[in-house]
Symmetry: C2
Subunit: 145 residues, 2 copies
DNA sequence: TTCGGTTACTTGCATATTGCAAGTGCCTTT
DNA sequence: AAAGGCACTTGCAATATGCAAGTAACCGAA
């Protein structure tokens, strides 16, 4: 890449990302799904930020429409519902972790232990892989129950 | 990292990031500053998304308060104003680029050339470094004028 | 020195989005 | 058959946004 290639086209990937993640609630729901293993409406409602029920329903359907989540019957109880992450949202993990690393560095009140940043700087790919494995573990357990 | 260490604390770095980037307009302004070399109110207004003047003023001051931008007199014309990226926002670049890579992969209408993803996958650190150098070049040129 | 143009905003107002509380319909459990 | 949980929906007041217009300071040219 040399300095003649001015990246004017950058606008678009960023706008695409902003359309999904440039919303506080979608962002936090993605965290719940990708990092906290949450899969149900009830679990999302329980997050400390206190999303209200209408906004939650709205954002879940938005995320479904955008191909980030799939809405399926809960294998444990047919009357209940699960939202599973798609490959598209799993592929968002590196970006999400990258933002967390940045936030950990600048948030004076961070609750993230030093070991998080350390393990990422020692082995970024391994850290991402660990989260991916957790997601798969959660979803396989759920789907086979 | 073993699977006993369940990362409950993840909520917070993500919430911190969501507080800044979980807003469409802040997100796009960061793009303009970090990727497009924009520094003035007038330049931000010119972006294709069409931010309105009151929202722009509001977000610039929010980003300044959050330590992402500094508001300074324009060295070219004292009556004008420049918004420069701080180290904090420059350190956000890896996360931003990571989101762009993801968006490029999933946006069917992406305008990003294949060479962008290629150069990132060949040499991620080098790609980030290139953007950092561009930012420094822009700001040094501006400040010494 | 005054006048038009530019820059960086602020203000007012109609519309859209949010937050909160309450309600609905469909299971499931007892 | 009744009670409760789950996943929403609805209504309404409060807040935020988008748009158009206005303002204040400065700058360069005539």
């Amino acid at each position: 890449m040399n300095s003649n290639e001015k990246p004017e086209w950058n606008g678009c990937p960023t706008r695409y990302a902003a359309g999904i993640v440039g919303d506080k609630w979608c962002f936090l729901l993605l965290r719940d799904v990708l990092l906290h293993g949450k899969r149900t409406y009830r679990e999302f409602l329980g997050s400390p930020e206190g999303i209200s029920t209408n906004i939650l329903a709205n954002r879940l359907s938005k995320l479904e429409t955008m191909g980030m989540l799939t809405r399926e019957a809960d294998p444990r109880k047919a009357s209940s519902v699960c939202y599973f992450p798609t490959q598209k949202s799993k592929d968002f993990l590196p970006a999400l972790v990258s933002m967390m690393i940045w936030a950990t560095q600048y948030d004076e009140a961070t609750e993230a232990p030093a070991s998080f940043s350390e393990s990422y700087s020692n082995d970024p790919a391994g850290t991402i892989a660990w989260y991916e494995a957790e997601i798969d573990r959660v979803d396989q357990a759920l789907r086979s129950s």
